[in-house]
Symmetry: C2
Subunit: 331 residues, 2 copies
């Protein structure tokens, strides 16, 4: 029975699984960041190789190799240049072709085997898609920290630090986020002296925060969740949820009722934002049932590789992929 | 009669003037950007030297040199390290000391000789100060593009590009800013094809805009002023004005009634934002008369150098500085 290779190459980690045509997962491996944009092409390929070798090792490396592969990654819609990646996978034993799919599609198929529906993913970035016949029909946002990603981890973290600077400055209301942020940065909340008409704490915050890459502000998103009873933090989370609902609404088509798959830490780790987005779903999207929460795109990558190989993935195969993968990951 | 050197070293240009104790301006010179942060220390010193030589040349280089100097620049409150700057000015004929003052203070004293009042400056950045006894009593915002500068040229430009990306994405209302921005970037507004579920125009915009340094987004602020009848553009300008009014309110003290000095292109080139901020001034700030609009800080740098030399700058001296400088700049 031929085996297939499915890889979910994310900005934080890379996950690989070997799967057979019945949906039985044979081996699973994991490595560091696999996104060529954030990690660089060589680093991404090294992570890919590490995760694939681990998966093959766990599966007992079938001598006949893999029939074909899917690698799911962000930005696939722009940079569909699988050359070096295919070359690396061939050296690892891939016999057939490799398809690079959007991570958004893999996220969707981690939650459902149905070919139509919606995915809303809010991690460091935020993006929504309508999936039709197993492909991206419409995509909204995912335009990055500078131009969009409304309601994402970056967006929340950015609003947290701006709210704290405004509060210290007297431009904004006092907030529990101030001591939380100062503590997170190991700054003294009691440093209330003034220098040239300005609180010293503001100067220190400016120094610390401009030393980060902008996207790193996403690390402060959890401060808003932790202080959710605070008015300022609560408003940031409510506005994030409204923005995410708006992004999903931008791809909603009355002819496609769902299901809706939620992914990314902003939607899956705390209930507040996910519940608010769910409550604001238009009726057409509620008819498909409650949103399905998924933690990553590895199940979906396995669905995609089987679909590309001509297998009609049904409830039975989908259930087998999910169960056997869960067992491998737990093992 | 001794002469004094006053320099306004800005992010776009550097202006120098020689002034005597009566307030008579003897020579004026101008050069490129003089801010060490944006230009680098060597570039800033070269601009300084160029502007000072031009001013001295125009004044007929008094053989006795300059008694003392003031250099006004942004970030003076943080980096008060006049070492290399003083060395360069001594080689040009400065006999006495040099004081580095905040550009905000120079902007204030370009509008008034009174020692107490307020300055609100909105150029690429945005900052407000309360001036007491000729010094910065309280400062709000000026925290940079990432953390604040609410209502600034960057802020407006950033909101313009986000509004356009959201409109193209279907997440935000249609706006006249879209064709204005696409035209400004020489992109084809008719490029409405879709690739992987996303409008191609969005991809091109992402490519063009991430190639800029973030602060360069301030170049798109004029698009909002030009499209002010457009609902989206009008709302951006109204929110900018509200933010600037809030920044000024954060430094307002009932015991200091004004005057209020407005500087920076957002407040001085179009009337819309300035008028909205003026309309929202608290009563205590209206008692000092309408805000005074100033185009730069060179008059104020001259006021500061005379004040530091012990001259009580009054209406008479202030008027002479303004008139004689205007004549030199016109000539």
């Amino acid at each position: 029975m031929p085996t297939f290779l499915a890889v979910d190459a994310g900005g934080t980690s890379t996950r690989a699984v070997l799967v057979d045509v019945s949906g039985r997962c044979l081996g699973y491996g994991q490595a560091g960041a696999g996104n060529p944009v954030s990690r660089g092409i060589e680093g991404a390929l090294a992570s890919l190789e590490h995760a694939v070798r681990a998966a093959m090792g766990a599966a007992g490396s079938p001598a006949e190799g893999c029939a074909s592969a899917v690698v799911a990654m962000a930005g696939a819609s722009v940079h569909s240049t699988p050359g070096p990646l295919a070359e690396r996978l061939r050296r690892l034993g891939l016999k057939g072709g490799v398809v690079i799919d959007a991570d958004l599609l893999a996220m969707f198929f981690s939650g459902t085997y149905q070919p139509d529906g919606y995915a809303l993913v809010a991690g460091t970035g935020a993006v929504a898609a309508r999936i039709e016949a197993g492909r991206l029909g419409a995509v909204a946002d995912g335009t990055g920290w500078l131009l969009g990603d409304d309601g994402s981890g970056y967006w929340i973290g950015h609003h947290v630090v701006r709210a704290v600077v405004a509060a210290l400055d007297g431009r904004g209301p006092k907030t529990a986020l101030t001591s939380a942020l100062l503590t997170a940065l190991a700054l003294d909340p009691a440093g209330v002296g003034r220098h040239q008409g300005r609180p010293e704490t503001v100067q220190r915050l400016i120094h610390e925060l401009y030393a980060l890459r902008p996207v790193e502000l996403s690390r402060f998103a959890p401060l808003a969740f932790a202080a959710a009873e605070d008015d300022v933090a609560g408003l940031i989370l409510d506005r994030a949820a409204a923005a995410l609902a708006g992004t999903l609404a931008a791809v909603t088509d009355g002819a496609v009722p769902g299901p809706v798959v939620f992914g990314g830490s902003i939607l899956t780790r705390g209930v507040r934002v996910a519940a608010a987005v769910e409550a604001s779903l238009p009726p057409v999207l509620r008819s498909g049932g409650a949103p399905v929460l998924v933690s990553d795109g590895v199940v979906g990558a396995a669905v995609l590789v089987l679909r590309h190989a001509g297998t009609a993935v049904d409830a039975d195969i989908f259930g087998r992929i999910s169960r056997t993968l869960q067992a491998l990951r737990a093992g």
